[in-house]
Symmetry: C2
């Protein structure tokens, strides 16, 4: 039941020898959600031992090269490996001509279906769900139309304490009600759900926010996620540059994490001006201590 | 006066953990000729310490993804680094819509001129020259329109032996004739060029042949080059597959090198079926001993 983030690239627009452009893969119980697909993503996936064919969903935040120039190579490789299962791509509306160009020019061998879901919401919306997992998209605040993503486990069924079954002589119908999260109401008594049942685990959640300048609604939209990946392109001293380019600083990323009450903060999308971003983390931890710097090829487990 | 090949990628269609898609940079006296530009080429260039701004020419053999998917990222990076000098791109005619799409969708920041030279010759043709160097293109034999390239130094001026100047009392006009490679013809004698003058160095040359199946004219076209890079996608045992996909085997690459009388053979563009291509080299050397396997990040000096 893993919920594991594979960080493939942490560069911003200019890659460096240590940092590839933005790309991530979230492994949710063996099903892979890719988020952004910068150049070299397929090579990074190979190095990380991630299967191309297990990618079911690709979420593209926006149509800037450093977030999508790995897509053509990845789709071509999937085709050459004989992929037949549908691939879902969630991307802004201006991805349509990019996809059309790719398919017309390089798409000859692509026999699998690409289900492109154009994004155009004003607030978080569910764009995909299966039995256990939900994918939401929401707008960010960048120079071009850009979206963030939340991938989260659904609340599991409650378990019923064995002692409660014995003590109250619970019927199957009553057990069913408790599993759904309801109280048991009898003529002469109420058996509170909180006493007789428990969650087998807390659902885990991950939010991806890159690229974006801060904006008021964001903390509400990502409230309480287990792990937040937030861009931190610049240090605090470059707040003006960050504002002008619609990016975030260290302190702004930390502030969002604190306001949203997230479990843990991971930052990336560093400006190539800074080969060493150690001081980014010092700045961030003054506001939000449970923070870390993302590095290419990091594997971050999100435990129960 | 270096003439140095930087091998950035040696994979064929499917990259592996050890092999990036096709890309090379030939450094001719500090001016860089890029040949093919597979995904990740810009990251490989950074690792090799090659300057993006010193690339004057990009030669694209054909419009298959594994030879060009690094181009969009490279051009974007050049733009972000503030390139202003013209970039020449030599590529088949079906590159036009690819370039147009790129410029329309991602070209906002590109302020340098891109001089696209469409290739459509039936035999080797000069496509660029400067004072010291020539670039030729010629057709290959692949599934789509594909071109090979020769980059070679021009023959330098001859030097005149100091003893000959003294012995014959050579005039400035006579020295000029010898430098141009002519004999000195006096009323009463001929001073043979071969006796009085010498080449300061033998011009060096490099030929790139990928992707291609063998064809009769090729050996003539690349005759005597100092270094030949030839694709060797498959071992001899897969000759049928090679023919079907318009690629070459080990023995076919070696045969071309022998027929053309090249100085040295380097092979690459290996099928991903073979993580270890050591036996490719054994096969090749049965026919052409002065051969080597190219590996990603190889730096091959072509000495005088």
């Amino acid at each position: 039941m893993n919920f594991t983030l594979n960080v493939l690239g942490t560069a911003s627009a200019l890659p460096t020898t240590e940092r590839h452009p933005s790309a991530q893969v979230l492994d949710v119980r063996g099903r892979l959600f890719m988020i952004d697909c910068g150049e070299g993503a397929q090579m990074q996936m190979r190095k990380a031992g991630l299967s191309f064919l297990k990618i079911e969903h690709i979420c593209l935040s926006h149509i800037h090269g450093d977030h999508i120039f790995g897509l053509f190579g990845l789709l071509s490789t999937m085709a050459m490996l004989g992929r037949s299962s549908q691939l879902n791509i969630y991307a802004p509306r201006n991805f349509r001509p990019v996809l059309d160009f790719f398919l017309a020019t390089f798409g000859e061998g692509i026999l699998f279906e690409i289900n492109y879901v154009p994004l155009s919401m004003d607030a978080p919306e569910l764009v995909y769900e299966n039995r256990t997992t939900e994918l939401l998209a929401f707008p960010l605040n960048h120079r071009v139309e850009t979206f963030g993503f939340i991938i989260r486990e659904k609340r599991p069924q409650f378990n019923v304490h064995k002692e409660a079954i014995a003590r109250y002589g619970l019927t199957l119908a009553e057990i069913g009600a408790l599993k759904r999260g309801e109280d048991v109401v009898r003529e002469d008594m109420v058996i509170p759900h909180s006493e007789a049942a428990y969650l087998p685990y807390e659902p885990r959640s991950y939010a991806y926010c890159s690229d974006t300048a801060p904006f008021p609604e964001l903390a509400d939209w990502i409230r309480g996620v287990s792990l937040l990946y937030h861009e931190s392109t610049f240090p605090d001293s470059m707040a003006e540059m960050a504002a002008r380019t619609y990016h975030s600083t260290t302190l702004q990323a930390a502030q969002i994490a604190r306001e949203a009450g997230v479990g843990r903060l991971l930052v990336g999308h560093y400006s190539s001006r800074f080969p060493d971003v150690g001081f980014f983390l010092e700045e961030i931890r003054t506001i939000f201590p449970d923070a870390d710097l993302a590095h290419d090829m990091d594997v971050v487990e999100i435990p129960f």
